[in-house]
């Protein structure tokens, strides 16, 4: 299993421009639109936003993982973005989010992709992974940080 199955280099943006939650999610969605993984920006945004309403995906530690299950998603994929100044994600620890993972999952997904995403979620819990993500200055380094065994 390889992280590159779900996270492509061109879906990594190391310098996100948006300052608020709504627009940063949309900015990340655009990355997936470009790759034609997501077919409808508004449609997918709505399911992410709905999910966000139940409780925030800003899990603290500078991380947010907005995600949505939607019929506008062709196959499971991830977009990653870094925000230097941080985005207020109403996170659990009230601190801004700097590392943002947008996860897109179709209504029906194959197990392999879902397992990759669950493995990714698990990895983010490890401090050394987060540290290498903060330090990563190229998409290659991001992928490398996420490929490391923990």
């Amino acid at each position: 299993m390889k992280i590159t199955e779900i996270l492509k280099k061109d879906c990594i943006d190391l310098n996100l421009k948006s300052r608020d939650k709504e627009s940063v999610i949309k900015e990340l969605i655009s990355l997936l639109i470009k790759r034609e993984v997501v077919t409808d920006k508004e449609g997918f945004f709505n399911s992410v936003w709905e999910r966000e309403k139940t409780y925030t995906t800003g899990i603290g530690m500078g991380i947010a993982i907005p995600h949505g299950k939607s019929r506008y998603v062709k196959h499971a994929a991830v977009a990653f973005g870094k925000s230097v100044q941080g985005v207020d994600f109403k996170s659990l620890d009230n601190k801004p989010a700097h590392l943002l993972f947008l996860i897109a999952v179709p209504e029906k997904s194959d197990e392999l992709h879902l397992k990759l995403i669950s493995a990714l979620s698990r990895k983010l819990m490890h401090e050394e992974v987060r540290k290498s993500l903060y330090d990563a200055d190229t998409p290659e380094k991001v992928l490398e940080a996420l490929s490391k065994e923990v």
Partner: protein
């Protein structure tokens, strides 16, 4: 020996939080030198599933979930429930808190006991029946109340096409009630054979309705379907590569075929001849003793509530309306009202004989009873047929006989309490009402005596 913890994590989409919480708990446990096993209930289904041994060996249970997690398997264990966020944010204190929770005394024994109980009830026919009944109750209540509301507009109001009462009748009678027996049958089979049981169970239930076998036929088809699936599962062995077609092709087709044919030829055909026989017999009876006829009509109305015997009595009485004979119709309707009314009364005077669910259903049974919707008694009868059916039969028989004795008459074939207010619809109204009350009280008393206490 280090402490052991088992945990379950789950979140609505099952995409990220489930796994993050699991990882945080595992990391924190490692740090605290505690053994942990975390079951994740996410989008891929249950992973790292907790076994009975895992749970038995655990000192505490942590459930970090934003969705419903089944807790029954943790009975006897200290269980700490937290939100998924809490587990992500501060797994360490969650674990510490869980370990501080008090263990129920002798929890090992208790777990074993519950386990044994579960096993015993799992195989018991009673458990299967109760599963079917508990799924059926809301259908009976929804359908019955909507039909009653339709009657409230006037007993014939539903015949006006396109009107609200007609719509209510279509929702309650043609839809909710039509599902009642298939649901009962389907979930009996489901309880026996899990998911594959649903198809033959529901199909068999539909056939019980269409062949006129009623809810008793539905109980038969439910058990038939459940055990047919069990039998097929055991006797058909497919090569590994073809195993996938078992649940989608082999089991549903074969089981529906078997159950369906048995229902049509084994049950449907005899039922037809029973109906014809009963109708002829009743016609003969009508010439002899009126009170005896009332008694028999009462027994028949309560026996299967919408099944062939009930239908024979009802059809017989409505048939007589055309010949301007109105007394049997009065007896039939009164006897059809007392089963739900009697049960409703019983849930009040003998609360310890009923489950909570049944006591709630008892409230709806009042409305169904006064509306002459005999089906209101079915959930109770299906749950405990050998005690409830004789009780309601006795009550209905008394009501039927009294109604005939008092010479009560009824000129319309349905409507329950709503017809009592229509001038001239009922003859000898006061005594008619007394007949109904008498049967209701007798039914309730019989049930209170016969039914066992629920421990």
């Amino acid at each position: 020996m280090s402490k052991r913890i088992v945990a379950v994590t789950a979140c609505p989409t099952g995409i990220a939080h489930t796994y993050m919480a699991a990882e945080q708990l595992s990391m924190a446990a490692k740090k605290l030198e505690i053994e942990i096993k975390v079951e994740t209930q996410g989008s891929v289904g249950k992973e790292n599933k907790l076994t009975e041994e895992d749970i038995k060996a655990a000192d505490a249970v942590i459930i970090a979930a934003a969705t419903k997690v089944d807790k029954s398997r943790f009975a006897g264990k200290p269980v700490l429930e937290v939100s998924v966020e809490q587990a992500i944010k501060d797994a360490e204190s969650v674990i510490k808190k869980a370990l501080k929770m008090k263990k129920p005394i002798d929890f090992v024994e208790k777990v074993d006991e519950i386990h044994k109980e579960m096993k015993a009830s799992r195989t018991g026919a009673y458990k299967h029946l109760m599963t079917g009944v508990s799924y059926m109750i809301p259908f009976v209540v929804a359908g019955g109340i909507l039909i009653a509301i339709s009657f409230a507009f006037g007993i014939n109001a539903f015949q006006q096409e396109g009107s609200l009462p007609a719509a209510l009748m279509q929702i309650g009678g043609d839809s909710a009630f039509a599902l009642m027996v298939p649901i009962l049958s389907g979930y009996i089979a489901y309880s026996i054979a899990d998911r594959p049981g649903l198809v033959p169970g529901m199909v068999g239930g539909m056939l019980a309705v269409s062949t006129g076998a009623g809810f008793l036929g539905g109980i038969i088809s439910g058990f038939l379907a459940g055990y047919t699936i069990e039998f097929l599962k055991k006797s058909i062995k497919l090569p590994k590569t073809l195993e996938g077609i078992m649940p989608v092709l082999v089991l549903p087709v074969l089981s529906s075929l078997i159950v369906g044919l048995l229902m049509i030829y084994g049950i449907g055909t005899p039922i037809k001849s029973i109906m014809t026989g009963l109708t002829n017999w009743l016609t003969g009876m009508s010439k002899t003793n009126a009170v005896l006829l009332g008694l028999i009509l009462g027994l028949m109305m309560a026996f299967d509530m919408g099944g062939p015997v009930n239908k024979a009595a009802y059809t017989f009485a409505t048939g007589l309306l055309a010949s301007e004979i109105y007394a049997p119709m009065a007896a039939v309707m009164a006897a059809g009202m007392t089963p739900p009314l009697g049960l409703a009364l019983a849930t009040l005077i003998a609360k310890d004989r009923f489950t909570k669910e049944e006591i709630e259903a008892g409230k709806a049974a009042w409305v169904l009873g006064i509306s002459f919707i005999t089906e209101g008694a079915i959930p109770f009868a299906a749950a405990d047929p050998f005690r409830v059916i004789p009780s309601i039969m006795v009550g209905s028989a008394v009501t039927g006989a009294l109604s005939m004795l008092f010479g009560a008459t009824l000129r319309v074939p349905h409507g329950g309490i709503f017809v009592l207010t229509i001038p001239n619809a009922v003859g000898n109204l006061a005594m008619y009402i007394i007949s109904i009350i008498a049967g209701t009280v007798i039914t309730a008393l019989m049930i209170a005596i016969l039914k066992k206490k629920i421990s």
